[in-house]
C-alpha cells in the first residue's frame, strides 16, 4: 500500500487547518451559506435533507486496518454508529455536525486519509479494480498508476473549477470490475508488442441523464507520458466543455458534440505542446510508488484445498470467493447487502471486525468496491473458513455477490436533496421478495441497480435490471430498464415502458426474471438472454 512521506502529510495537514479556518468563518457568520458552499464542497461536505453529509476519500478503494478502524471511530464518535460505502469506493457519513468536521478531518489525517476533492467540479477520487494486485487476470497492478494520478490531481491549479465533476478510473484486467468506460476518463493498462505496459485511454463515458460509453481516444500511452497526456485531455475539456447548462457540462457532451476524432485531434495538438513543458515525473517516481505496492509475503506452502464440509460455508465460497493470482490464496468479498438491509451500510462494529480480519488474514488490506461491498484481497484458502465464521457472527456472510439481492442503490429521497424517489426501501423490498438463496442462485448473475433520480448515482443505466425513480405529479414512480452493463461488455439499459409505483415495480422485476427463466438456454446469464431475445418478450410479460 502507498504510505505518505512528509510531503504528502504536510499537504493533508495544511488542508485540515485551511478547512478549520473556513468552518470558523462560517460558524461566526463571517461567511454566508452561499459563500461557504463552494469551500465545503471542495472538501466533500454536502448539506442534505436533514444534516451535513461528509464524504471521505478512499483512494482507488484501498485501505488498511488502521484506516478502517478510523472509519469506525468516526462513525461512533461523530455520526450515528454507522457509515455508508459508496459507488465511488468512498465512505460517507450522513449525520455530521458542521462544528465537528475540522476535528474529523484532523483525526483522518493521522491515518493518511482526507476528504479532498470528494465533491465539487474537480477531479474526484481515482477509482480502480477492487481486485487490483490480486486478480488472476490482470496484466499489471493498476494502483501505482492510480496513485500517480491521485497526486497529480490533488489541488491541480488549472483544473479545480472544471465545467463539471470529473471521474477517472484505472483497471488492468480483461474483466472490467470498475465500470471503466462509464468514467470521464477510463484507463485500461495494456501491453504493446514490445511487452511494455501502457495506458489505453477512453474519454467521455458517464451516466447521469445522458449516459454514454467512452470511446477509445488513444491506444497506448507509456507511463512516462501519462500525466502530460491526461493534462492535455483535461485542458481541452476545461477550455471547451459547455458551461451554459450544468446538465450538458460533462466531458461526454463535448465528445458527443465535436466527435471523438475531433477531440482526439485537439488533444494531440495540445499534448504536443504540453509534453514539452516537463510536467511528467521521472521514472524513479513511478518506481518509488510501485515499490510500495509490491506483492505481500505470501506463504508459498499455502494449501490449495478448501474444506467444504459445512454447506453454508461452501455456498459462500462458491458465490463470494474469487480466484487469486497466488496459488493457495483467494479473494473474498464481504457482502454489505444482507436481505432487508441498506446497501453499502456498515456499523462501526462491523467495520472494526472487517479491519481485524484484514489484519489477521489479508496482509492488512481491504478494498471497497463500486458495488458497495468490501474485499479481503489476500486470504489463504486455509483461512477462509475462519474468516467466514467471524463474518457470519457479525451478519456479514451473505452469500449473494453479483446475485439479484446484491443491489446497488443510491441514498435516494431518504437522505438526498436531489432525489425524486426513495431507493433504499425499494432495494429492501426487492431483496426481501427474492430472499430465497436457492431462487437467487438459480437466477445467477443479475446486477440490479437503483437510482432515486436522473443523476444516476445508483448506476441504473448499467444494471442488467435498472430502476430509475422519478417524480410523477408529486408521487414516486419507478421506471424499469433492461440490458445495461458496466463490465467489459458495457451497454446502456433500455426503458421498458410506463413506470410503476413501489409495489408495481417489484412485481415488474419478478415478471422480468420469470420471463428470463422461461426463455433462457442452459447456463445462459440474464444479460445474455436479454441480448439474444430482445426486449419484446419482457415487455409482453410486464405489460401484456
Amino acid at each position: 500500500m502507498y504510505k505518505y512521506d512528509s510531503y504528502d502529510q504536510t499537504i493533508v495537514d495544511a488542508r485540515v487547518e485551511e478547512f478549520r479556518e473556513q468552518v470558523a468563518r462560517r460558524l461566526s457568520g463571517e461567511l454566508s451559506e452561499d459563500q461557504f458552499k463552494p469551500l465545503r464542497l471542495m472538501n466533500g461536505l454536502y448539506l442534505q435533507l436533514h444534516a451535513y453529509m461528509l464524504r471521505v476519500a478512499i483512494p482507488y478503494g484501498t485501505l488498511d486496518a488502521r484506516q478502517m478502524r478510523m472509519l469506525a471511530h468516526v462513525a461512533r464518535k461523530y455520526d450515528r454508529g454507522y457509515g455508508h460505502f459508496t459507488t465511488r469506493q468512498n465512505i460517507q457519513y450522513n449525520w455530521i455536525e458542521l462544528k465537528h468536521t475540522p476535528d474529523i478531518l484532523a483525526e483522518l489525517a493521522t491515518v493518511e486519509m482526507h476528504a479532498i476533492q470528494t465533491s465539487g467540479n474537480c477531479i474526484r477520487n481515482i477509482s480502480s479494480d477492487q481486485f487490483a494486485g490480486a486478480a488472476a487476470d490482470e496484466i499489471a497492478d493498476p494502483r501505482p498508476w492510480a496513485e500517480l494520478l491521485r497526486q497529480w490531481s490533488t489541488f491541480h491549479p488549472e483544473f479545480s473549477y472544471l465545467p463539471r465533476k470529473f471521474k477517472i478510473c484505472v483497471i488492468a484486467a480483461q474483466e472490467d470490475r470498475a465500470a471503466m468506460r462509464l468514467h470521464d476518463i477510463g484507463i485500461q493498462l495494456v501491453k504493446n508488442d514490445a511487452g511494455e505496459v501502457g495506458a489505453a485511454i477512453y474519454v467521455g463515458g458517464g451516466m447521469g441523464r445522458t449516459p454514454m460509453i467512452a470511446p477509445l481516444i488513444k491506444a497506448f500511452v507509456p507511463i512516462d507520458d501519462l500525466l502530460s497526456y491526461v493534462e492535455a485531455c483535461l485542458r481541452v475539456y476545461n477550455r471547451y466543455g459547455r458551461r451554459d447548462n450544468i446538465y450538458k457540462a460533462r466531458i461526454k457532451i463535448l465528445l458527443h458534440e465535436i466527435g471523438a476524432d475531433e477531440y482526439r485531434r485537439q488533444v494531440e495538438e495540445e499534448w504536443a505542446h504540453v509534453k514539452s513543458l516537463g510536467l511528467d515525473p521521472p521514472r524513479a517516481e513511478f518506481d518509488r510508488i510501485a515499490a510500495m505496492f509490491a506483492a505481500p509475503a505470501y506463504d508459498a506452502a499455502a494449501p490449495d484445498a478448501i474444506d467444504r464440509d459445512d454447506p453454508d460455508f461452501a455456498l459462500w465460497v462458491d458465490q463470494n470467493v474469487k480466484p487469486h493470482k497466488q496459488p493457495g490464496y483467494a479473494i473474498a468479498t464481504i457482502s454489505l447487502k444482507p436481505v432487508g438491509g441498506i446497501p453499502g451500510d456498515a456499523t462501526a462494529e462491523q467495520i472494526d471486525l472487517m479491519a481485524d480480519l484484514a489484519e489477521r488474514y489479508s496482509f492488512d488490506e481491504l478494498r471497497v468496491t463500486h458495488a458497495q461491498n468490501i474485499v479481503l484481497p489476500y486470504v489463504r484458502k486455509a483461512d477462509l473458513h475462519a474468516v467466514w465464521q467471524a463474518l457470519d457472527g457479525a451478519g456479514l456472510a451473505t452469500a449473494n455477490l453479483d446475485l439479484i439481492s446484491d443491489i446497488i442503490a443510491c441514498p435516494g429521497l431518504d437522505y438526498c436533496s436531489l432525489a425524486n424517489a426513495r431507493s433504499i426501501p425499494l432495494a429492501q423490498k426487492i431483496a426481501t421478495r427474492f430472499s430465497s438463496m436457492e431462487r437467487q442462485r438459480d437466477l445467477g448473475e443479475l446486477k440490479l441497480k437503483i437510482s432515486g433520480c436522473i443523476n444516476a448515482c445508483g448506476h441504473h443505466h448499467a444494471g442488467h435490471i435498472g430502476i430509475l425513480g422519478v417524480d410523477k405529479r408529486g408521487t414516486e414512480n419507478y421506471q424499469l430498464l433492461l440490458g445495461g452493463s458496466g463490465a467489459e461488455d458495457a451497454s446502456l439499459g433500455r426503458i421498458t415502458g410506463p413506470g410503476f409505483d413501489e409495489d408495481g415495480i417489484v412485481d415488474a422485476v419478478e415478471r422480468t426474471v420469470e420471463t428470463y427463466r422461461a426463455v433462457r438456454t442452459e447456463g445462459e446469464r440474464f444479460l445474455d438472454t436479454y441480448r439474444r431475445v430482445g426486449i419484446e418478450p419482457f415487455k409482453e410479460a410486464i405489460y401484456g
Binding site: D8, I11, A14, E18, Q151, F155, Y161, L277, E285, R288
Partner: protein
C-alpha cells in the same frame, strides 16, 4: 487601481485594456482584456508588445481563465497577467500557480487572509506556471 493586488515590482500599467477584437484590429494597444470564452492563443503572436493581459472571471465557477493564464505563460509572456472579476480569497493560490500576478476582484479581499492562503501549502504536487518545484522533483533531487 487601488483595489488591484499586485505581485510585481514594476509600475502598474496605466493604459486601459481593450477587447480582444479591438486589440487584434489595431497595432498600438499594449493592454488587452480576454473574456473567459476567448482563445488565449490568439494573443501569442503579439505577446512581445503586451504589457497587461486582463483575464475575465465572470463567476468563480468559470475556470477557463486558469487555462488561459497558463497558456500565456507557457508561450513566454512575462508582462502583467491580471485576474479580474469574481475572484475570491481561496482562488488566489491556484491563480498564482497558473501565472497570474495581479488581481482585480469585484469585492475587496482581506489582505491578511490572502497572505495566509498563499503561504498555506509548503508543497505542491504539480509543475505549473509559477516555477515551484513539485514534490516529485524534490523527492528525486
Amino acid at each position: 487601481m487601488d483595489d488591484v493586488l499586485r505581485y510585481r515590482d514594476d509600475a502598474a500599467h496605466e493604459e486601459p485594456a481593450v477587447t480582444l477584437d479591438a486589440f487584434l484590429g489595431q497595432t498600438n494597444a499594449t493592454a488587452v482584456r480576454l473574456e473567459s470564452d476567448e482563445d488565449a492563443r490568439a494573443l501569442i503572436p503579439h505577446l512581445d508588445r503586451l504589457a497587461l493581459i486582463e483575464v475575465s472571471f465572470p463567476a468563480f465557477r468559470d475556470g477557463r481563465g486558469y487555462s488561459s493564464g497558463r497558456i500565456l505563460r507557457e508561450a513566454g509572456y512575462t508582462g502583467e497577467l491580471r485576474a479580474a472579476g469574481d475572484v475570491l480569497v481561496d482562488q488566489i493560490l491556484p491563480m498564482r500557480r497558473c501565472g497570474f500576478d495581479s488581481f482585480a476582484p469585484d469585492k475587496p479581499l482581506d489582505p491578511a487572509a490572502v497572505e495566509r492562503a498563499l503561504g498555506r501549502y509548503d508543497a505542491v504536487y504539480q509543475k505549473a506556471a509559477d516555477g515551484r518545484s513539485p514534490v516529485w522533483a524534490l523527492r528525486h533531487g
